[in-house]
Amino acid sequence: MDMQQQLESLAASAFGALQPGEDATLSYSGEVTDFARLNRGGVRQAGTVDQADVVVRILRGRRHAARSLTLTGQDDAGRVAAAVADLRELLDLVPEDPHLSVHTAPVQQVSILGDAPDGPEAVATVLDMAAAGGSRPDLVGIWGSGRIGRGFASSWGQRSWFERGTWSLDFCLVHAGDKAVKRTVSGLAWDPARVQAAMDTARQELIALGRPVKTIAPGEYRAWLAPSAVDEVWSLLRREFGERGRQTKTSAVMAAIEGRQRFSPLVTAREAVGTGVAPPFSGDGWPRPDAIDLVRDGAVAGSLVSSRSAKEYGVACNGAAAWESAEALDLSPGTLGDADVLSTLGTGLRISDLWYLNYSDRQACRVTGMTRFATFWVEDGEIVAPLQVMRFDDSAIRLFGDGLVALGADAELGMSTSTYFRRATGSTRVPGALVEGFKFTL
């Protein structure tokens, strides 16, 4: 049984078990994924994960309770019906939920795209590519491929289905120690040529990592943040545009929300699920618009609103998950072309990746983190030396506010490679950024 049929079968069972006055919803997540963990150009661990689960929620008026069940392929319909019966017993124990907000429109939507390759065969192709032309390279990373399904069904008639066949290769070519070039390639149709191109450009960059390492003193530096480094900064900021954070004053960008500070007029950021990588509906069935402006021309323009926040604060739900974080962040590109990056940087740092960011003063949006992988010292537009890793500690609003000189002209869509519990469906599209006065401390 395919995943979409599986959800339909569960819905028939769950909704058929309801009594008068009751409603129910099902939230489905499934995947069949081939993983291969790679190290030193070989395979460290490889295997297949076949998993699916469903969250069954039963409602009677404003009382409700839910259970997550892992699906076994054996009498799952019966287990879901039994869960409905168990949960019914809880409804008398729980009070009415003042923040319950249920999507009751009988939406019908289906989106199915992509075709994942055979995992073992594709992994062999990747390793052969890496080894071509000589000795086994020091390649380390993770291959992931297969189908992902997300679905929602309600007793009010909603059926929302999203399914993608995807592949991704997230890897480093390592020079030595912590000096490496990182690349991530992914897609909806297997394209070995894109892997080859990524390896070729990584190999070129690897050459410069062989130069003697330079250590810089703490201080303020002009720096080019490659898109992956910008993505790391916004991986923190993307969590700060939730309605709850705004209402409870806990958002790290509160100063920007309240207009006490501004991002640069160059900054326009959106939650853009219309790119097609993330489902156009939330886990509790609410539709998600193609794009939600979070920052427009430097000013905070909107927030991500979950169904519970919508009820609690009296604003419209826009399909955010409970944690109200952007899952398809899109930062509009600027005008600085790749060919002009180093000459415009002049003297400073070319930072490929940042790492382990966290707030050192959340109220001030001050963020600390490390440089990582292929970070270079540049003089007069020429790469001089790889850099010893450095710790920064700076305001993220300042970096993308007064400190922002230019944004790159190119912003490539990247699928999330996060695999905690399950393969993620998020994405980012961000350009690089040229910043002034980036503060390094250690």
Partner: protein, 478 residues
């Protein structure tokens, strides 16, 4: 039920497999939570699945499935075998060199008051009583009080006759309180769900759950009017709940053999520790003694066998400051050629085991808390982690805490907000100048250690006394 699954697994095993294991994992989880006076939606979870691991020739493969029927298990064995055979030529290690353990036995967490011994209404009453300890105050803009329970049952069966059952009962009382006034916001919490432990409802009593939110609220409101933490080089006295993070990031992760072997370089990172350091490297001052101890009662990551089936036993990793042993299981030990510990663990049935730190503790010294404070001319006592960042070699770190208290001329003084400090692992531990005695020793733990590709969260335990460090770079906010 698991007996039937095991019979189906054994019946499905082909005779020509070199080695095959089945790791069944069943998880039940519940969370009872009140946020700002509103009971959060009741939600429990039932999860059961299995990972099949096959070693065939040089290769190793796995297949994870929740289909525990005869056909489902046979399919998983076939898929794992296929991976082992098709990647053997590319394998980074010749897995045929390892004799995988074939253990037998059973183990379970010590529990005094079983979770099931109280009704749902009784447990909800516990959470409501804890929430009632919060004062009515407009400055409390956000709060949540929770009682969480997880029960994990694992059964590891091997083709050579191994059969081990372990049952883990865990409870985590938790609370977070946010106060806001005059443009300032401060949070007090248990930091990374730090009271997560093995056991039953007695854990809630041990941490005085009923009064906990009220105490945190008082702290948060005190911070609103506290001055910023001073900057400069000074002594730092770390409470056990911050030692949890300090041990975890700058001892635990650097000592993981899979990081040293390079497996994590694309994600969690490498290590400044190299294999030649074991046995000779001066990791810290001679006051530093670090144990790997899966046997501490109630500590979150206790067990009797790891997920490869290696028997767990206490080992000293650092003794009198000298690095003796790394954190690596049977596979990593064979790859690295150095001694390790029984620490290969998986997040669940859907992830393969990797090297994990489990319970990693700093052993008590001989100073009382008063003694430690009395030795400080100028410094800051810090509690409860709120910010953590460290480089991918686990060397340059910067950590922040929710709560700071000045120490001047051997006396505890006023509260300070936004206490932060930074340092370098390779030198920080050598500046350990005082270690608290058993009276200052506390057991902490967190379920949020992220690592691995594919990504995995692991439960870890860290117990420690108060520890005093000299000459630390300290600073405040903004």
């Amino acid at each position: 039920m698991t007996d039937a699954v095991v019979r189906r697994f054994r019946d499905a095993l082909p005779a020509d497999l070199d080695f095959c294991s089945l790791r069944l994992v069943s998880t039940r989880a519940e969370s009872l939570s009140i946020r700002k006076g509103v009971l959060q939606p009741l939600h429990d979870a039932e999860d059961l699945g299995a990972m099949v691991t096959v070693r065939q020739g040089r290769g190793l493969g796995y297949a994870a499935t929740a289909d525990l029927s005869a056909a489902g298990l046979a399919g998983a064995i076939q898929r794992a075998r296929e991976w082992a055979e098709r990647t053997a030529a590319h394998s980074v290690f010749d897995y045929s060199r390892i004799a995988m353990p074939e253990p037998t036995g059973s183990w379970q967490s010590p529990v005094v008051q079983p979770w099931a011994g109280e009704s749902l209404a009784q447990k909800l009453a516990r959470v409501q009583a804890a929430a009632a300890s919060l004062p009515e105050d407009d400055r409390l803009v956000e709060w949540e009080v929770a009682l969480e329970r997880t029960r994990v049952e694992t059964r590891l069966v091997t083709s050579g006759g191994g059969d081990v059952t372990q049952v883990f009962d865990m409870v985590a009382p938790d609370a977070t309180v946010v106060a806001h006034a005059d443009g300032r916001t401060h949070t007090r919490s248990l930091g990374l769900r730090g009271h997560s432990r093995q056991g039953g409802l007695e854990i809630a009593d041990e941490v005085d759950f009923t009064g906990l939110p009220g105490r945190l609220a008082a702290d948060a409101m005190t911070l609103l009017s506290a001055p910023d933490c001073p900057s400069g080089t000074m002594d730092v006295l770390l409470a056990p709940d911050q030692m949890m993070l300090q041990i975890h990031e700058s001892i635990g992760h650097p000592l993981e053999l899979d990081r040293i072997l390079g497996d994590e370089r694309n994600y969690a990172g490498t290590s400044f520790v190299t294999l030649d350091m074991f046995g000779t490297y001066q990791y810290g001052s001679d006051l530093l003694n670090v144990s790997f101890d899966p046997g501490v009662p109630g500590e979150l990551a206790g067990y009797a066998w790891d997920d490869d089936g290696t028997p767990a036993e206490r080992q000293m990793l650092i003794r009198a400051g000298i690095l003796e042993r790394g954190l690596g299981g049977v596979v990593s030990q064979a790859r690295a050629g150095v001694p390790g510990v029984s620490c290969t663990r998986a997040a669940s049935w859907n992830r393969p085991p990797i090297d994990r730190m489990a319970n990693l503790n700093v052993e008590p010294g001989d100073s009382s808390l008063d003694d430690l404070v009395a030795r400080v001319e100028r410094g800051v006592l810090m509690r409860t982690n709120t910010s953590w960042s460290i480089d991918d070699s686990r060397n340059k770190f910067q950590f922040g805490c929710e709560w700071g208290q000045l120490i001047e001329d051997g006396q505890l003084k006023g509260v300070v907000r936004n206490p932060n400090y930074r340092g370098v692992s390779a030198t920080f531990w050598r500046n350990l100048v005082g270690v608290g005695d058993r009276s200052t020793f506390e057991v902490w733990g967190t379920p949020f250690c992220g690592k691995g590709e594919p990504n995995q969260l692991a439960r870890v335990g860290h117990a420690a006394p108060f520890c005093l460090f000299a000459g630390v770079d300290v600073f405040g906010g903004a």
